[in-house]
Symmetry: C2
DNA sequence: CATGCCCGTGATACTAATACCGGTATAAGT
DNA sequence: ACTTATACCGGTATTAGTATCACGGGCATG
């Protein structure tokens, strides 16, 4: 087991992540945002649909920049949902 | 060529990125931070040394959380340098 | 109505990230 | 001096992200 397959939780988190991006995209087209971020439209689509649940950091950073989103907010929005059962590892 | 190999610029950006993480880690050990972030120590080492120049978003998010860093600051610090080979338009 | 364009999508190809293993070097503690 | 702990390094295995190709649906135009 050298490379653990993505957990269902990670998949779901990716879906939520993509949903956030799609929501932030609003009326803008995929190709427009993708071009602004410097990634291919297909990649953006995969991220939005959750088929790429764990995209690269800089890809996300570029998309967030193109959409005017904060990476911290984005990560927090997904992390909160991901650990909604009760994450008591910090205290 | 369906998957463009990483550019030298991306490699350098990864090195800077890793340097930032290492700096933020300070005196803490790799295994400690890696465990806190939920990634393997080898992965953290590869990211810090620049051998993994484009880590996954959530991996970076977890590391930043473990280190108390802001993702936006982190991305901005790398993006500035990654832009061109010498943008010194400081007014 | 046919054609072309934009959007979104599925399939395919290829590289890279993640994790594990063994070995090595340095520093500290006993 | 031996052991322990930390970090570095090479290789290996497997999954996953990213880009190109090719297709279907909707809309405007000729």
């Amino acid at each position: 087991m050298v490379r653990v397959p993505l957990s269902p939780q990670e998949r779901e988190r990716g879906e939520r992540f993509g949903a956030l991006l799609r929501q932030a995209r609003g009326e803008r087209s995929m190709v427009d945002v993708a071009a602004a971020a410097g990634v291919s439209a297909e990649t953006l689509r995969k991220i939005e649909t959750g088929r790429a649940p764990t995209p690269a950091f800089f890809t996300v950073a570029a998309l967030a920049h193109a959409l005017g989103l904060s990476l911290d907010v984005l990560a927090a929005a997904c992390a909160e949902d991901a650990g909604q059962g009760g994450e008591a590892l910090s205290a």
